[in-house]
């Protein structure tokens, strides 16, 4: 039996706010897919159908959009999705070493999910944090910068107890304070 999904009344209210931003309904597709993914953890086909029905758009359209953008999970993922950046700046600063360390630690390869459903690992493209390489993002949310093996150990430990790391603000290095 395929699972059925429904939006809460809160979600529906948010969807109305989103629709009001645009002169048509179609532009709500991406933001409503986000609402759905944050609610259900993924946008597998049954969720895409819900989005299509809610907006009165063809399912084929919503499916086309969901499959174009990499951040939408077209199937169920782990509770925490670890997106390790391996693009140029991160590659130069050890991004692949961090990825492989995580793979060994969790016993899965990039693209896979642990058996207990806790973790997925993905090797992803530049996340716009190149100066803080190597880095990763957790489940489309918080960035973890300047990764080391120790830092990864700590993050995994805290995620196991259900605690997301906090947002790390990386300052603008102020020239005045550097005596140059």
């Amino acid at each position: 039996m395929e699972q059925t999904y429904t939006f809460t009344s809160e979600d529906l209210q948010e969807i109305e706010t989103i629709k009001a931003k645009f002169p048509a309904v179609m532009p709500a597709t991406l933001p409503v897919l986000w609402v759905a993914q944050r609610r259900f953890g993924h946008v597998e086909p049954a969720v895409q159908r819900l989005v299509a029905d809610t907006l009165g758009l063809p399912e084929a359209h919503v499916h086309g959009v969901a499959t174009f953008y990499t951040q939408y999970y077209k199937e169920k993922k782990g509770k925490y999705v670890l997106d390790v950046c391996t693009t140029t700046s991160c590659q130069l600063c050890g991004g692949y070493e961090m990825l492989h360390y995580l793979e060994d630690k969790l016993g899965i390869k990039a693209g896979e999910t642990t058996e207990d459903g806790m973790f997925s690992i993905q090797s992803v493209e530049c996340l716009g944090a190149c100066g803080y390489a190597p880095m990763m993002q957790i489940t489309n949310d918080v960035y973890v910068n300047n990764l080391t093996e120790e830092k990864l150990d700590d993050v995994i430990e805290s995620l196991k107890s259900g605690k997301m790391p906090e947002f790390e603000s990386v300052g603008m290095p102020l020239l005045e304070k550097r005596n140059i």
Binding site: P23, P27, T88, L92, C93
Partner: protein, 428 residues
């Protein structure tokens, strides 16, 4: 004359604590430029366009086009909707500067976009932020709400006849959506396939209506130009590419980060002084000066080069987004080029055959070379692939993918030859 950067005081992201809070921004002349243009009798939409054009703010999204000149391409208002779409997609590898504006001075960008909207008589502004920047999207949503609540956005701003709406929208993971027409498609709720030009967005943009696209950093310069004048702006940095620049420095340096300095700072000063020199005392090998699509330069090509469009062109590269990727002597250029090619293959939207197939072939051949199975003729094949990609496609992603291939191989030919040699001997 070298640019005097040591005495420079940042203006885009000045050293003022909590400037991201609206009250702090207001205490520091916030929204005075907007007030001036919408209520002052000495400003009209045309005069704002002209002042910004005179300042020659060259687009900070990569192409370096004069912002005021771009605004002047908007057709005369016909009573229908017109749009400004602010590009916060920031996905070019090596680039991480616009998020600093979202985090540390969002109201400067908002004010700049509002002035741009006034100048082009736009009714709705969208800021499109890459989906990965979830934390920064939240910051922008808060800043916009605060500005709405105080009446800087909405109906009859400062009691004038100027009304405008301003919304945040987000992507969901696709580098191509930074290309301006792809961004418009994405904003319209579709797959991000770039559009064929012409028609240009100024004629037919969002929902077929006149639309201008500007980068976040570009717009953040606008209130400064209005408050201090085009001449002040042109006095910062080099004349042909004036103004402050947010340099993003990453890779093998001691202090990577985003630094605001005048345009035209010598490359060696940025690496050795600003970013604290090379990590672990290693020697500099190469630099990608402005994001991954700008051609890599060898250390010996950097003598006397500074970060501005002309100097970099003479050296054989481009300013791009000023996202500098610094590489030390241990860097494997074959691995580096393979990874960049993987990126462009992954991000090609697939509409054009030369791009879809070319990026795939390039990645495959480079993987073969990287794994020690390449032959010298594969390098020629890579050149052929690059030639067939360039200038034959709907958008510039194919060019952006071709340039690194050609230039990295040409400029580090020995290294590529050495990786191929084994199989050549095996054949001989």
């Amino acid at each position: 004359m070298a640019v005097d950067w040591k005495s420079y005081k940042p203006v885009i992201i000045p050293d003022i604590p909590n400037l991201q809070e609206l009250d702090v921004y207001l205490k520091n002349d916030g929204y005075t430029a907007l007030k001036k243009v919408v209520t002052g009798s000495d400003w009209t939409p045309e005069s704002v366009v002209n002042e910004v054009k005179a300042a020659n703010i060259r687009g900070r999204g990569g192409a370096g086009f004069n912002a005021g000149l771009k605004w002047s391409f908007m057709p005369k208002p016909d009573g229908g909707p017109r749009y400004l779409a602010c590009n916060g997609d920031e996905s070019e590898p090596g680039t991480f500067k616009d998020r600093k504006i979202f985090e540390y001075n969002p109201h400067l960008f908002i004010e700049g976009a509002l002035i741009a909207a006034y100048a082009m008589q736009v009714s709705t502004i969208y800021v499109y932020i890459r989906g990965e920047y979830y934390s920064w999207i939240k910051m922008m949503e808060k800043a916009l709400k605060d500005a709405y609540d105080r009446g800087f956005i909405g109906k009859k701003i400062f009691g004038s006849d100027f009304s405008v709406d301003f919304h945040v929208t987000s992507g969901a993971g696709a580098y191509i959506c930074g290309e301006e027409t792809s961004m418009l498609e994405s904003l319209e709720g579709k797959r991000g396939y770039p559009r064929v030009k012409p028609p240009f967005p100024a004629q037919k943009g969002l929902w077929g209506r006149p639309t201008t696209i500007n980068n976040i950093e570009t717009l953040a310069n606008v209130p400064l130009v209005i408050n201090k004048g085009a001449d002040w702006f042109k006095g910062i940095g080099v004349e042909t590419h004036p103004g402050p620049v947010l340099y993003g420095i990453s890779g093998h340096v001691n202090r990577p980060g985003v630094y605001e300095l005048p345009s035209g700072v010598p490359v060696f000063d940025l690496i050795n002084e600003v970013a604290g020199g090379m990590r672990n005392g290693k020697k500099l090998k190469a630099l990608i000066p402005g994001g991954s699509s700008t051609p890599v330069l060898r250390a010996d090509q950097l003598e006397g080069v500074s970060m501005d469009a002309d100097s970099l062109r003479e050296a054989g590269s481009m300013m791009g987004t000023a996202g500098m990727i610094v590489m030390d002597e241990d860097t494997d250029m074959v691995d580096m080029l393979w990874r960049i090619s993987h990126f462009y293959h992954h991000e090609s939207c697939g509409q054009c055959t030369p791009c879809r197939e070319g990026t795939g072939w390039a990645e495959k051949i480079l993987l073969k070379i990287k794994n020690g199975n390449g032959e010298i003729r594969d390098l020629d094949l890579l050149h052929t692939v690059a030639n067939q990609m360039e200038g034959r496609t709907i958008c510039a992603l194919a060019d952006a993918a071709a340039w690194p291939i050609r230039n990295t191989i040409n400029r580090f030919r020995d290294e590529f030859d050495a990786r191929c040699k084994k199989s050549v001997h095996a054949v001989a």
